[in-house]
Symmetry: C2
Subunit: 198 residues, 2 copies
DNA sequence: CCCCGGTTTTAATGATGATTAAAATACGGA
DNA sequence: TCCGTATTTTAATCATCATTAAAACCGGGG
């Protein structure tokens, strides 16, 4: 038995745990948290439902990890975009590009944080904190763009909500088709940031 | 006993059935279809779970009606925008305005069609058909705008997905605050269509 | 006051699904 | 080949609902 709480290393165990999280993310995106049974998830790995408990403490932890992973990926996209520099508009476009790539690329399905109220109390607080932090940082990017003149003055909270919504909804209609992935990458970053432009 | 299938008239029964659908929509938006129990829904009406069966045949029909209502409202927004005329861009903006108003206004919470796979087979086909039809019609509006020169040439499928996503995600963060509703109405239509402009 | 249709509740029933413990299997190294 | 650890399955257990049937409630017309 292994302490299954904190590890994603490059071991056989860690790899399979990673696969598990992706399978769960896909299922959750399709049928929601409560709508997917552990059997649904385990089927994707050719296992029985009980086997999941070897890798994770339970269904609650499964969502939690999926959501945390989603938050990490979103944060990384924003980190990289900011590190890459440029005007506020440049950063915003780069962020959309990276985040959209994450959704459609090999990062595999990313869970959308669609059922936060179903989380355990303490998990929910943590995920909400991450989510709020991410929104706030993105809004700061928009404000920076307004200051440097690359973005038209606007309600950054609402504009951020619109952009995040467009991105968050992707998993609802994107199902892994490479050709479609190309079209997303070619359309979203430009369309979503052209509306910001001064 | 009343044939509870087809009626939403202005009777006491019809009114309460309408309230029921709204309560269900709110619950589904918050915790997903499987995540909400009939008890959750009935609590909003001060009833017990069993009382719901007086108004509706079961949980499946409840989602189905919620999704159908959502499709109706979206279709109506598009109908009205098209009837109102103007360039393709004008129509697109008007549609966003109307649909966003529906989400934030007195139409009460509109269920987002987030768990279509959980529907019964025949219900799912119907809802999917409505959904596809709506997307196709909106894409036609975009194409019309490209032809009349009001919209920049683009991948209308992907652009439509982006716009719909931004709208569909609204119920995830909007919870009835009037001041926020104002800001949504002031931001979404312009932002989402400015990105289309030629 | 009593009856009746419309409405709601109480009290089962049954299915589903998360979770656990114990048993079974796989498999690399001695 | 044999052992021990890692992994998975089988077979309970237990709680949570959806659903149903029967009984109770409630208000208006006779």
């Amino acid at each position: 038995m292994v302490s299954n709480s904190t590890k994603s290393a490059t071991s056989a165990f860690g790899d399979k745990r990673e696969q598990l999280l992706r399978a769960a993310a896909r299922c959750f995106n399709e049928k929601g948290y409560s709508g997917t049974s552990l059997k649904d998830v385990s089927a994707h790995l050719g296992l029985t439902d009980a086997a999941i408990y070897y890798y994770i403490d339970g269904k609650q932890q499964l969502v939690y990890e999926c959501y945390r992973r989603a938050a990490d990926i979103g944060r990384a996209a924003l980190d990289d975009a900011i590190a890459n520099g440029g005007s506020g508009l440049d950063i915003a476009r780069d962020y959309v590009r990276r985040h959209v790539d994450a959704h459609c690329g090999s990062a595999g399905p990313i869970a959308i944080m669609s059922e936060i109220p179903s989380l355990r109390d303490d998990d929910r607080e943590h995920i909400l904190a991450l989510s709020r932090e991410h929104s706030a940082r993105f809004e700061q990017v928009l404000e920076r763009g307004i200051e440097d003149g690359s973005i038209l003055a606007c309600d950054v909270r609402m504009t951020g909500n619109a952009i995040m919504g467009a991105i968050n909804w992707i998993p609802k209609w994107f199902h892994g088709d490479d050709a479609v992935a190309q079209r997303v990458a070619a359309t979203f970053p430009d369309y979503l940031t052209r509306g910001l432009g001064a």
